[in-house]
Subunit: 188 residues, 4 copies
């Protein structure tokens, strides 16, 4: 089985909604087991279990939340040098565009790279004026269809990369599939 963990912190429920969408996207890849866990219920064992990891945090001052940071500083410190090479990505919601959601995703990538994860974003567009080059981003709750789609693509891509790379399933390369990948020109 392809194993995906969606780990999130959420104060208002917005990031939790994103997490569920990311999990739905991952589940689109056959033979994938998806765990969606709040950071206060998750443990290092969940991270060690997974092949691929999506980390979601509220955008708090442009950086991941202190609770999500504490998870990596304290809960995960004993797993350092044990999780190298897993594949990972990020997602975040802020109160306004320009409010730091990309930077919060970047701070998650920085933490993940320290642990030896391979981190990625999504090249294609999820709809008009919406992409997730540095992870899925939302303004408040992920209500708009294209933002929901962006979350799902992120989760699916994560599960595709782990299916391809960890499990050798070459049919799961995004370019080997029938699913169209939208460019800016396609959504204009």
């Amino acid at each position: 089985m392809n194993k995906i963990l969606v780990l999130f912190d959420s104060a208002t429920g917005n990031v939790q909604q994103m997490a569920e969408l990311v999990g739905e996207g991952a589940a689109l890849v056959p033979d994938t087991e998806v765990r969606v866990r709040g950071v206060e219920d998750a443990s290092a064992a969940d991270v060690e279990w997974c092949d691929g990891l999506a980390v979601g945090s509220p955008t708090n001052m442009g950086v991941l939340s202190w609770k999500m940071k504490r998870f990596w500083d304290e809960e995960m410190i004993g797993s350092w040098m044990k999780v190298d090479g897993k594949i990972a990505c990020a997602f975040s919601s802020a109160g306004g565009w320009g409010g730091g959601m990309e930077l919060a995703c970047q701070s998650v990538h920085t933490v993940l790279m320290n642990f030896g994860f391979l981190v990625f974003g999504v090249t294609e567009y999820a709809g008009k004026k919406m992409t997730g080059h540095y992870g899925a981003v939302a303004c408040k709750a992920p209500r708009e269809p294209e933002i929901q789609e962006s979350c799902k693509i992120l989760g699916r891509r994560l599960a595709e990369w782990t299916a391809l790379y960890v499990h050798g399933r070459k049919d799961q390369h995004p370019d080997a599939k029938e699913i169209p990948r939208l460019t800016p020109a396609d959504v204009d």
Copy 2:
């Protein structure tokens, strides 16, 4: 006179439109001279002239454009250690939300800090779901009123900080003025 330079690179005209709005915002501060210059027409003398600087770039792969980078690597290198303490900010447009506009602004800040500039973002909101905590950001052309307002606030704030700090005009502190500063609650 309070002296503001708006320096931009623009491939499609979108960032140029933002630059003009940033310049308009700066001009709202009395006794302010504003120069708006494309990067291929600007020189180190323009930067040395100004009290405050706004730098705009297209979001190209999440980082400032190579032409804007070249300006700092080559044209400005001789001014290094001569422009410390000037005040500066950034703005950028990308093709989609989540497309790297915040990261492109961050890359501009990184360049500017290297030269000793004091860099800042805007705390308040420009309208519903729109802020510029790390500089003004747009998706494509700045058509929406709240994005235009975000550009103008950035320019005004820049001219306010330089009026206050370089010219000692205490009436120009944003909190000393009658202009309301919107919080997320105000725009919800």
Copy 3:
């Protein structure tokens, strides 16, 4: 009086040593009051009090520590929109060069910019192969003279910018002073 707060989190004592050096540097500017405070003893009132702020954190996974993050997420949230325009900088220690100290400083800048601070680094060199373009950095304890000097320059520069800009003391511009500012060529 010129008012400087040095706010730090320290697990091993290394960042505390840096904080003391930053404080010493700030105190070199006449008529400056310096407070050095551990994050667990500091309050929002300390930040509201100061003209200029230096924030130090251990490099934990390339990002500021969760305790320092919590201070801004929780203790400071009520001061958002009340501290705009203060001047600020960062410092950090990691276990090895390449271990994320610059990125940790950057994450501090991101938090500070969200609050409307003007953030800066140091252009000049502190000695052979040592600068603080993005804040003062150390590998473990700040034992080497050039790293100690880098911390002191950061603190002094902070107090210089606030003396100049907040208090209008033009003699405190770094270029108006007799203190030499080293370029790479000077230290080679």
Copy 4:
């Protein structure tokens, strides 16, 4: 064959020396073909050819050099959406510690993520006080043995990940090999 491209820009020769070391490290993985190319001699075809890519740039104002940026903005733009899922990493040299080498590597990661690359750093230490959590970093030329080792580990790790993931060679997982991976405690 496992295919590795080391792509670099170098003004002084320092990054070129790093590139050669990264290439040497990659060649330690059996059945690996390594191309080391200066950015002015490289083409999009080189990037399309490789399984894994290491990108080196001088630290110019804390961001990759304009010449390296131009390569991605112009030469590579036609390959966007064609290189997803390749594995990549970064390296950089600056004039002083604290001079922006980590941030320059981060800017390379930002560019690479936009193209859909999976980016990584090195968890282990290369020697006393030296690691490459966000890519290999050097101060000036890579003369010190631990910096040379850091470059080699980066290259080897890149070739290990591509051997493992692209070619299914499970014996190439770093934890499946006899080569010790140093922790901070080992080098203290």
